[in-house]
């Protein structure tokens, strides 16, 4: 069997796999596009916590017969409010407030589900996804949410970049940094909602963080980083789904591992490239991703860099 046949086989034979593939692509596009900002703002833990917290909203919505999507979004909103209220106390660090808000909502979800005997709600469906039960109506809703989120990122792109790099300067020139913080929370919440059926709550953070992290290893501009992350996201989502079909493994977990595999490959390749550059330079060394040795063009524009602090010549 050729690779193409191997890859296409599941989708030729079954309608639910075709629907699942569309769901996976939606997640593969949206989660990495949002994940780029999650990564650059060092909010990976928030993404993880937000995904867990969603369980409370999902379970609540299921029990009262409301829309699961609305329930999940409501959980994100409650989480955001809890973080903001608790975080107003200077003594409580942000990771602590996130941890508390997350467990309150997750625990509420677990208890609600345990009380739901006979309703037919299965905890594992939400934790690990149920990609093969995706309906066309879900895809339309998720597609609309994805377009809304991507449009938001597109319009706010420059402000997000300024506010993430230098928030003080951004505020000074009129960027509403507080509003952007809330917008980002909402984007993470929407991403978890779209990921719910495909990869499940527990694995949604994998699509949020891993493709963006892989892209960060190989790019130096946020636009290219986003494009690369989305490419990796779509390929790991589809690759993982196909692999899960052939190996009879859970789709969400398989997708998460394929994304992690991409990161390992990029890590190995960039490590080899850096080692090659070190050898080529004859013993020079690099810090972080960039050489501290300025190249000729940089030298021409600036006197040789003094990386050390110049001491004050007069001391008090």
């Amino acid at each position: 069997m050729t690779f193409l046949n191997w890859f296409m086989d599941p989708y030729r034979s079954s309608e639910f796999m075709r629907l699942a593939a569309v769901g996976a692509v939606l997640v593969g596009i949206l989660a990495p596009a949002v994940g780029v900002w999650v990564l650059l703002r060092r909010l990976a833990y928030l993404g993880d916590a937000m995904s867990h917290a969603t369980l409370g909203g999902v379970a609540g919505a299921y029990l009262v017969g409301a829309s699961i999507t609305l329930g999940a979004l409501a959980a994100g909103l409650v989480m955001g409010v809890m973080i903001a209220v608790l975080g107003a106390r200077r003594r409580l660090a942000q990771d602590a407030t996130i941890g508390v808000a997350e467990t309150v909502l997750f625990a509420s979800g677990v208890i609600l589900i345990s009380r739901s005997d006979g309703v037919g709600i299965d905890l594992s469906h939400y934790l690990f996804g149920q990609i093969t039960t995706v309906r066309p109506a879900d895809l339309v809703l998720n597609g609309a949410l994805m377009m809304l989120a991507l449009g938001t990122i597109g319009v706010l792109f420059r402000d997000l970049r300024s506010a993430t790099f230098d928030p003080l300067h951004a505020r000074q020139v009129g960027v509403p940094t507080r509003v952007l913080d809330h917008v980002l929370l909402a984007l993470v919440s929407v991403t978890v909602v779209v990921s719910l059926q495909t990869v499940g709550l527990l694995m949604s953070v994998a699509m949020l963080v891993t493709p963006a992290a892989t892209a960060r290893l190989v790019t130096d501009k946020i636009t290219t980083m986003t494009a690369v992350a989305v490419g990796l996201g779509v390929s790991s989502a589809l690759g993982g789904l196909t692999l899960s079909y052939h190996t009879a493994s859970p789709p969400g977990a398989t997708i998460a591992l394929v994304a992690a595999g991409q990161l390992l490959v990029a890590f190995a390749m960039t490590s080899a490239w850096r080692a090659g550059r070190r050898l080529g330079r004859g013993g020079g060394y690099a810090t972080g991703r960039h050489s501290i040795v300025p190249d000729a063009r940089a030298m021409a524009n600036d006197a040789p860099s003094g990386a050390h602090d110049k001491p004050a010549t007069t001391s008090p």
Binding site: S162, F165, A298, N301, D302, A303, K310, T313, P316
Partner: protein, 240 residues
Amino acid sequence: MTTTEQAIHVERLAVSYGNNHVLHDTSFQVRRGEMVAVIGPNGAGKSTLFKAVCGLVPASGTVTIGGVHCHHQRDRMSAAYIPQRSDLDLDFPVTVGEVALSGRRRFLSWWQPPRAVDRERARQALETVGIAGLDDRPIGMLSGGQVQRVFLARALAQEADIILLDEALSGVDSPSTAAFLDLFAALCAGGTTVMLATHDLALARRRFARCIAINGTVVSDGPPDLVLTGASLEATFGSR
């Protein structure tokens, strides 16, 4: 000093972080085109003073910029605060051109992409600070002096009348430092006000006509010969 000559007027400014009173009863005025060195020990409140002038930390007292009493953040958009390099993640994936262009946000709405005039002003600003042609370079690949030039270009693109530089010249070698000071002098001659927080007292003595020594408040203010003398320095750098 008439209000038209006045760039910054700070009156009874006080800033506290929780129980930590960083600045109290701080008052001074700076004229348009003046070049002022702000000296003081670590923790004296130099950064906080600049941030308070720019409205970036909660403060009491009054700040007037260009004769306008600052009630809203937009009243302060003609001031630019250039942070210490160590305050920012210089590995952030942003290019020289993108940083310079971000200064133009002052003239745009949240939904509005930069116009041709904005790109042109950002390009001119990079040219003025001597790093034209590096637009596409990630800031992580620049030398310390070049990074400061990028931030200065951002302030110029912002068309700031007041530029507040926080330890901008630490870690910059002496030829670059001299070039920066020439640039500041040229900007001041054109009516821009420059304040530089520095630890380098020799530099302050050599290149600045006015020094403000602070340690929780203004300790002394005047020409270097007055401020950078034994008794005044003792008062500034002695224990609070």
